[in-house]
């Protein structure tokens, strides 16, 4: 029989029980997905609340993306639990001193908020489809109207008000949810690599850049697939957003690292050995060099030169892909990296990522891509396009 647990090789001195790395790649997927949720919601809010008109083409897509990612956020956790059938214990009898106890409530609140906002945003479309369609899908739309068929100007005004205020509440909601994930790690005093006041903020900013980047990729790919022209202004708006937030994200990460090194508390020698050794490629090269500094330089160049057209779209999309990789590496380096540094401060462990299995690379990949698959279905039900082709498609369907 195959061994139930995989033991991690180590160097130096580690506590015996540490030789099993308990939080696997799924625990890196979990903050990655919540980050995408918060980031995508940011884009929608920039349009709905702050009036960034150029982001209009992606505003609804952002909402749907946020919801699709959010639906999958609990899954990596459930797959990881020793007793997933008891997961609701955390909501039925939460232990309020635990940073983890509030997750279910925050997540539920946010999902409800997102669904409400999407409902209000799509109400005219739902009503139109409910009245037009006679097939099974028509029944679904009729159910989704919740009995309200009013599309008068005053009713739509109320809808817009609701969308606005839900978006306003959603800003602290989405960002609070992700900052909270950062707090789950940052509040643990057992590990020097995690125990940081900056952790929630670092998580938040990396979340924003990852969500905006995902939308860039989704928007550009969707335009290509639908064979409609890409609105360069929208891409530029998204590029500005990533550019601005990536600066803060980089600065915060640098501050965090400088803090650890400068304070030089017990165990810092091992941390230095770790970042110069096993973490050199995932941390300095992939997360910082390739994933953050490179896109920052590309975007700076594009903005400085006033590049437009295809070159801009290509440069921004490339940067977005790099940022998406960088943020995943950040989650990996926090979750896995933190456990690879022994609590003794005198040893290092090596995590082995299996390909197959409940907590393997394949499962992580499936979970990361699953929201996109659901999004494909969702955009058929609620077309988020604002261009003419979108309207034509909606009218034809």
């Amino acid at each position: 029989m195959e061994s139930l647990i995989h033991f991690a090789p180590y160097i130096g001195w580690v506590y015996p029980n540490e030789t099993v790395i308990e939080w696997t790649v799924l625990l890196a997927v979990y903050p990655y997905l919540t980050g995408l949720v918060a980031g995508a919601f940011t884009v929608s809010s920039l349009y709905q609340v702050f009036g960034f008109e150029r982001l209009r083409p992606v505003a609804h897509l952002a909402l749907l993306t946020s919801l699709c990612c959010m639906l999958f956020v609990p899954l990596p956790l459930l797959l990881h639990l020793g007793h997933p059938e008891r997961a609701f214990n955390a909501m039925i009898t939460p232990h309020l001193t635990s940073a983890m106890a509030m997750f279910g409530f925050f997540a539920t609140f946010y999902v409800v908020l997102l669904m409400l906002e999407i409902w209000f945003a799509y109400r005219p479309y739902i009503i139109e489809q409910a009245q037009k369609r006679t097939d099974l899908l028509g029944k679904v739309y009729r159910l989704l109207t919740l009995g309200s068929y009013d599309v008068s100007e005053s009713a739509l005004r109320v809808d817009r008000k609701w969308v606005f205020w839900l978006a306003v509440i959603g800003i602290p909601g989405a960002h609070g949810l992700h900052g909270y994930v950062g707090f789950l790690f940052g509040s643990l005093k057992s590990r020097e690599w995690w125990s940081s006041d900056l952790m929630p903020v670092i998580f938040l900013f990396s979340a924003i850049i990852s969500g905006v980047s995902l939308l860039i990729v989704l928007y550009v790919v969707s335009c290509k697939v639908r064979k409609v022209p890409i609105e360069v202004d929208c891409v530029k708006g998204l590029a500005y957003t990533v550019w601005a937030f990536i600066m803060v994200a980089l600065l915060l990460e640098a501050l965090e690292f400088a803090n650890i090194v400068y304070k030089g508390r017990e165990g810092v020698d091992m941390i230095m050995e770790f970042v110069k050794g096993p973490l050199l490629i995932p941390y300095f090269v992939l997360q910082f060099g390739v994933g953050a500094v490179t896109p920052f330089l590309i975007l700076s160049y594009l903005i400085w030169r006033g590049t437009t057209g295809k070159a801009l779209v290509f440069g921004v999309t490339l940067s977005a892909c790099l940022v998406l990789m960088s943020v995943f590496m950040m989650r990996w380096n926090v979750v896995i990296g933190g456990q690879e540094i022994s609590k003794t401060g005198k040893g290092l462990l090596t995590y082995h990522l299996p390909f197959f299995g409940q907590e393997g690379a394949l499962m992580a990949l499936v979970l990361t891509l699953a929201p996109i698959a659901v999004l494909l279905g969702m955009i058929r039900l609620f077309p988020p396009w604002h261009d003419k082709a979108g309207h034509a498609a909606a009218a034809a369907s």
Binding site: L81, S98, A155, G345
Partner: protein, 281 residues
């Protein structure tokens, strides 16, 4: 000026306000139910009053258990580790332990101690089994300046980080000072394993819950000693009721200058050490 409102808009507003009322009512009921559930589940009652507790005449409000380790006495025979594994059905591998023994060896000319434990591959090779433990004679020929053994176990902290982080309250502190795990309540998230600064917890994959030393709670509540204390041939492990001034652990704490591990964590460990060195943490 009178504003004309369409009937359906009025109806929708009414629907939304009712929805709001229903949500508030639901929230209040939910909060009430939650409070009730918490009261029901709170582990504050004397277990002696409940039928589920294995020792009916035991009153946890009348004891305050504590543990002492005299590292100057430990000979590294590892009988304690084997006794613990067998008493508590700890998985028979070289990676998961409720208690373990660390060996610190200072070699002449080296700045730092060489540290290992029974789980080290060299020591496992020496014992020839993952279920039997011994320290290999690996420093033969080296000039050893100083060497000692340090037994480790759960510190049953006064402010346990593991209890703080448990999202369902499955890990809890008893009134007599031991941290226990309710296996029927635990969801298996392993946040407690991460939070323990001492590496005292491991995750039992087969049962889907974490496990750790309980100072053999099933024994001490019957008036017995923990298995490791009973197995120790040199009296390096001392256990007792700190409220009883004549107990071995009270004498140990009173007659020695004791210290605890990682006091800066704020966990306030209840395992008191004598004879450990600066590198022990």
């Amino acid at each position: 000026m009178k504003i004309h409102q369409s009937p359906s808009l009025v109806a929708r507003r009414r629907f939304l306000s009712r929805l709001g009322l229903a949500t508030c009512a639901g929230a209040i009921t939910g909060a009430g139910a939650l409070g009730l559930a918490r009261t029901v589940c709170a582990k504050t009652e004397t277990p002696a009053a409940g039928d589920s507790f294995p020792t009916k005449d035991y009153d946890w409000t009348k004891h305050q258990w504590a543990f002492g380790v005299d590292a100057t006495k430990c000979i590294g025979c590892l009988r304690c580790v084997e006794a613990c594994k067998s008493e508590n059905h700890v998985p028979g591998n070289a990676h998961q332990f409720r208690t373990w023994v660390e060996r610190y060896v200072y070699i002449e000319g080296e700045e730092r101690a060489r540290i290992d434990s029974q789980q080290d591959p060299v020591n496992i090779a020496a014992s020839g089994s993952q279920k039997e433990y011994r320290f290999a004679d690996r420093y033969k020929g080296e000039k050893v300046e100083k060497a000692f053994f340090v037994p480790k176990l759960c510190n049953q902290c006064e402010n346990p980080a593991c209890v703080q982080v448990c999202p369902v309250g499955a890990t809890y502190k008893t009134k007599d000072g031991v941290v226990l795990i309710d296996e029927k309540r635990c969801i298996g998230c392993r946040y407690c394993v991460q939070a323990c600064p001492y590496g005292a917890r491991y995750f039992d994959e087969e049962r889907g819950v974490p496990d750790k030393c309980t100072w053999c709670y099933h024994r001490i509540t019957k008036g017995l000693q923990p298995a490791c204390v009973e197995a120790c041939p040199v009296g390096a492990r001392v256990f007792g009721d700190i409220r009883d001034r004549g107990s071995p652990v009270s004498l140990f704490v009173r007659n020695n200058r004791v210290q605890v591990l990682k006091p800066e964590s704020g966990n306030a460990p209840q395992v008191f050490y004598v004879g450990i060195d600066k590198e022990v943490n």
